[in-house]
Symmetry: C2
Subunit: 565 residues, 2 copies
């Protein structure tokens, strides 16, 4: 669709998945990599150049074969990119941004200047500097290499003043390596957002932002990503997206996709950690979960094609990286075990990168599992994670591990339980995970507020609320969540449930409650199943089968009764 | 994940997409094609052999490089496959099935023997045969070549006795080409189903069936596929899946994916048309729409890996083929126009095949658009189809063209309209397509039955039913569909809607109706939006924004009122 050939500095797995996207779009690619045509991307690209992406001559050789240059790794020769760009070769993202990002200290200075919230940081010229900074920042602090760091390489924790010398030496400070230090960010979790920056038809900048993911690192390497993040409010997610977008806005006319890693602190504030000017491990989930994946989006940005849709097409997605276990045949088999296990998971996307060898710790592939909710994606990926990291793999993650509730059943009092248990029974019959809680609008109004406002982020899709008398719970909850709320009027002793029914059903315009018959919680469960099936043909078929069998079994029982008469 | 190398006879687009799937799974492939490494599949496969898949030596050369053989085209040298199979080289699907399918007449005899419903057919040895058969079959009849036919090549309609000679000559009957003839099947539409046949861990045969698609041919070449098919009942779809599955069951231990094309007749019966023992154009939609796509599924079958899930992950999907317009630069640009247009469609998957040249009529790529319903997928793909075939492209298709109703609003009488229009207004505000009909449980019980039982197949996700007095409509409709039904009690003159409310809300156990306040159809619309958002975070955000703005605007209005006092 585009006659230009795209040259890519780097031929690893990110480049490989970029080439697949280029194929689909009818765009030719040429990759530059030390492994040339044997690199993961070189194996599938139309052309390749064998050489280092840090070698000026090799980059120039790539440019000769291509109409536009981009990259899948930022540790490239930015000087020669700048020179080529000056000479009229389009390079995206712009070389000045690549250069700026390469030096993490300069990156931070730039972002700070543009008002992006960051952990405090300072340049380190000598070991002595660290002592004085440590007195101000407190311990632990994070010492970082300014250049060439990735996957935790180039980071060293300084636990206290006594640890300064070791950390300084570990990162080569004594040998003259350039370093800087960051104040410790006491984060609750790490978040990441992919931001796409392209142009519209009139060449004006246009941006799109993917959903927020919760990333878990293992030995400083990305291990899993979950989206939407559980336990992060809508507002916090919007804040993370805004910070990521603001940061990328500071990059002038640079185009491409950017991976933005952030910290969510206990107080709900968000600090930017670092930026990658390219497709990123935390964006792999977009292949199964979003309208257009990060690789196609990157090409669209770079080529000036219209941007694709970033929204989730699924209720949740979880990705796990597959790292090499070692080169022996046993270790290769062990490395591939989670892929084999993933074949049994209905919603798993398996991605092997085709690398030669299987070195320990090397990124060999990844698996993404999608689900109706983030919690159900987590539940489905559980056996795959177990194959990676033992049976308690999920427990070792700092993410919720309970079976994924899709329906929340709440009631004003435990006296409602004999009625409400019928809803739970129906959900059990249909295999739909749910949670049951006592939530009273009148006795525990604050908990009610908390429950209703966090239900969506916890992955709940439908709420069933039972209440009797002056029954305010269903309506109040409906006023606090965009989720559908089903109301069950519980039969009252004074007015036989007439009070409950009218309190629940007669909601004012603007806030609906789906009301079922007095005391009929089973129907509330069935309505929840139908609601979950509204967009899910498979679920709908289960309801159709239930309806057929239900009528059939009733008829049978009736015949039996007739026989008894 | 599997150390075996898979050899594929044929290196076209089907082979190319099979190679992508092999990459993801970590399986090596070698393709045999006259274009060798320049063929669409050869460009991306690890290895390739240049040669014809009909040439015994070339097939043997392929076998030497591979551990197991499969194919992406059935017009291959089946004798040499049989010979290799006898010599211990695994070949899947089994060569006897490939041979049997190659001769369409033998294929039909085989299927008839196994009780698969087919159009009547008969062998044709001479032109004279056609006269006597014509007297029995009636005209028109369909004369077909027994061998080597695809994409309509090898078919000739015999309109009447006078047309026999021309048709017989057209297909080379005089030159000794082997032919057979089929009785005309007066079909309402053409359906297709992909069937996967693999083995479980104990090497027992296991089968999975993909959803039914409605295929539209243009000049005897597949033009579009729509799933689920609109206007085909659940029972008819199940019948088509059963016939397809029964047919493939007749193939003994053969493994792989099979494309089964069928006719749906006006009376609702289904006849099998023909079978392809390989991935098929009518299965391309599985890449965006299903758990595991047909290419990965084929490899899983062939390699004896666990089968993947076939169910739809979306409400609907439509695929359109992109055929070459010609070799000139203008024609190449014209060919690619629909791809460029598809960049603007949020849910479009674009697939260019990387073929050399752009010969007129050649399959160059395809585009699949997914949606919340089949009708919305059709609506979204409209501009892409227009770029292929002019502004009236959709109208020329024999599929519904109306904007996609996702919500059905029904009411017992037009006197309910002043109440029910508020539901429509809300849906308009949220941009959700809907249909409005008068359906009375009492006055038009048969239409009510028809409406309720076909709503799901028409792509409706939620029904809003309003009724007053002895209000039976919501509950009766709920008893006839697995979809969620929202009931609006319309205010009655006699009992102020108390009768309507109790008739709607007090449903018996088993059949729920989501009841809203008396006369509050706006809330029914909002509840429908919430239901559609239960599995759709984007939709849910719209509701959250609405709730925020609603409260805000109310508060503003109240302040203004206060000011006026």
């Amino acid at each position: 669709m585009d006659k230009r050939t795209v040259g890519c500095l780097g031929g690893g797995q990110l480049g490989r998945m970029m080439v697949y996207a280029a194929h689909r779009l009818g765009v030719r690619m040429c990759v530059l990599d030390p492994l040339g045509e044997k690199s993961p991307a070189g194996q599938v690209a139309e052309m390749s150049v064998k050489g280092s992406f840090q070698d000026a001559e090799a980059v120039r050789a790539l440019a000769k074969k291509c109409d536009i240059l981009t990259l899948e790794v930022e540790h490239v020769n930015a000087e020669v990119l700048e020179e080529l760009h000056q000479a009229g070769v389009p390079v995206q993202p712009l070389p000045f941004v690549v250069k700026l990002i390469q030096d993490k200290y300069v990156q931070k200075v730039h972002l700070q200047k543009h008002g992006v919230p960051l952990p405090e940081f300072e340049k380190v010229e000598s070991e002595a500097d660290l002592h004085s900074i440590g007195e101000r920042f407190g311990y632990p602090m994070m010492l970082k290499s300014r250049y060439g760091a990735y996957d935790g390489k180039g980071n060293a924790v300084v636990p206290n003043a006594q640890g300064i010398t070791a950390a300084f030496e570990k990162l080569g400070g004594k040998a003259g390596k350039k370093l800087y230090v960051e104040k410790w960010a006491p984060f609750k979790m790490e978040l990441a957002v992919m931001v796409a920056r392209g142009v519209d038809e009139t060449m004006n900048v246009t941006m799109r932002t993917y959903p927020v993911v919760h990333t878990v690192q293992r030995d400083s390497v990305c291990f899993t990503c979950l989206t939407p993040p559980v336990g992060v409010t809508q507002k916090q997610q919007e804040l993370a997206q805004k910070i990521a977008t603001d940061a990328i806005k500071s990059f002038g006319d640079a185009r491409g996709i950017f991976g933005v890693e952030m910290f969510l602190l206990e107080d709900g504030s968000v600090l930017l950690n670092e930026i990658a000017p390219r497709p990123h491990n935390t964006g792999h989930y977009t292949m199964e979960a979003c309208g257009v994946d990060q690789f196609e989006q990157h090409l669209r940005c770079v080529l000036g094609l219209p941007l694709g849709d970033c929204q989730l097409r699924v209720g949740g997605a979880m990705m796990v990286n597959i790292l090499g276990q070692g080169e022996t045949p046993e270790m290769v088999t062990k490395t591939m075990a989670p892929l084999r296990r993933a074949l049994l998971v209905p919603d798993a996307g398996i991605h092997w990168y085709g690398k030669e060898g299987c070195a320990k710790g090397r990124k060999m592939g990844h698996i993404t599992v999608t689900g109706f909710t983030p919690a159900s994606a987590l539940e489905e990926i559980r056996p795959v994670l177990a194959a990676v990291d033992g049976d308690d793999a999920v427990n070792k993650l700092d993410v919720p591990t309970k079976p994924a509730p899709s329906v929340g059943i709440i009631m004003g009092s435990d006296s409602d339980l004999p009625t409400m248990k019928d809803a739970a029974q129906v959900l059990d019959d249909f295999g739909i995970p749910y949670e049951i809680s006592i939530v009273s609008a009148h006795r525990t109004p604050e908990y009610m507020y908390e429950y209703a406002t966090t239900a969506e982020a916890r992955g709940i899709n439908v709420i069933i609320a039972g209440a009797g008398g002056a029954a305010h719970l269903p309506g109040m909850v409906a006023a606090l969540t965009p989720l559908p709320v089903i109301g069950v009027p519980v039969k009252s002793s004074t007015l036989s449930g007439n009070d409950s029914l009218l309190s629940i059903v007669q909601m004012p315009k603007g806030i609906p409650v789906a009301t079922v018959a007095i005391g009929n919680a089973a129907n509330a469960g069935l309505l929840a199943v139908r609601i979950l099936g509204a967009a899910n043909p498979g679920q709908r078929q289960k309801m159709a089968r239930y309806m057929a069998s239900w009528l059939f079994s009733r008829a049978l029982r009736f015949e039996r009764k007739i026989g008894e008469v």
